[in-house]
Symmetry: C2
């Protein structure tokens, strides 16, 4: 999961130090996992560096030899996760066999929510970055984790329009945005309530999206 090339690039950009880059991969992985779990659970201000160090089994002195500051740890974690999402989406696209827009949406839904590769910690971290971070003391510019889903969905909608499956009088971007909102809402619902609505495979949701609620 943890790619050495990325660590090198992040060191280049000053988000992590060179010392961190040289660190053993499993140690880096441990820190990354601890950060994902703890940021998601406690938020940015709610997580102290001491707590992170305890969880990742490193000393505070070491921490600041790896990261210039606490906010750099967050940036590191978000960028790593962003990269993970990029690869995941690419993999999904690669494995896609459906052709029709309706089936493609269903496939995506199932891949994201039914057979999801995401660990609960990752889901919670995703929600934290996309929503909770808005009300935290730190700001991360130019990062949009939702774009992975938005772009995928927008592509499906657009192609569906071209092939005549989907009405052409709709605003593609907004439609994709609204669809993403729904999927994100379902992620939250599963993480909060512990289960998907009606526990099924997505037929219902796609029905809602695709056929509308009109009689």
């Amino acid at each position: 999961m943890l790619d050495e090339n990325i660590t090198a690039e992040l060191a280049e950009r000053g988000i992590v130090t060179d010392t961190f880059r040289r660190l053993a991969p499993d140690k880096k992985e441990l820190i990354y996992r601890a950060a994902i779990g703890l940021f998601g659970k406690f938020g940015y201000d709610g997580l102290s560096v001491d707590q992170l160090c305890r969880e990742a089994a490193i000393s505070k002195g070491s921490f600041f030899q790896y990261f210039p500051s606490k906010s750099h740890l967050l940036e590191f974690t978000v960028l790593m996760f962003d990269d993970f999402l990029t690869k995941w989406m690419a993999e999904l696209k690669g494995n896609e066999t459906a052709v029709l827009a309706r089936e493609r949406l269903l496939y995506l839904y199932q891949a994201l929510l039914v057979n999801s590769k995401l660990h609960p910690d990752q889901e919670r971290f995703f929600l934290f970055v996309t929503r909770g971070l808005e009300h935290a003391a730190v700001r991360l510019e130019g990062i949009d984790l939702e774009r992975h889903f938005n772009e995928y969905i927008a592509e499906i909608i657009k192609r569906g329009e071209e092939t005549g499956e989907i009405r052409g009088d709709f605003d593609v971007e907004l439609t994709a945005h609204l669809t993403s909102l729904i999927i994100e809402g379902l992620i939250r619902r599963r993480y909060l309530v512990g289960r998907l609505p009606r526990g099924e495979t997505g037929e219902y949701l796609i029905s809602f999206l695709f056929d509308g609620i009109k009689a």
Copy 2:
């Protein structure tokens, strides 16, 4: 806006002190407004009591004569806002003239997003409570600001089903939930981007919801 009866009830429940209850209404209002604005902007952990006191023009000593703790201030603010939403929804229902589900949804959309009574600070506070609070150090049990919208929408959907305007094979609760998600997403979008998509009156959204995206 600020109702004396509520202050009395909150004092009864120990959320604010008796001293606060006796305070001049405009002073209470000032504290409430400062809290709405600052919690929304900085989150729970990001806002210090000192900062709140500065904004509300009271001393720290006074603050702790009004509220048992910082978390009680949050609870006070949320409950006041909750009450505001209750009254607003009741007012909307009272003024409603539309009968058909489609028109009722459009009316609600316009009331919430086009002619909204909500101050930007209130919108941001709403988003903070419904999303950002999940990742803060403090927890508020049993409070669900979204229920106001959910219940209204659920009622529209349900009645629409009964009159045959809306397909009967849908899960009312989930449909209402998804509809709420979209509306909440639009609130966020307006507050972040500063405008509604396509800047129109909601016809497009209702179209999306009501007619579906199928060709």
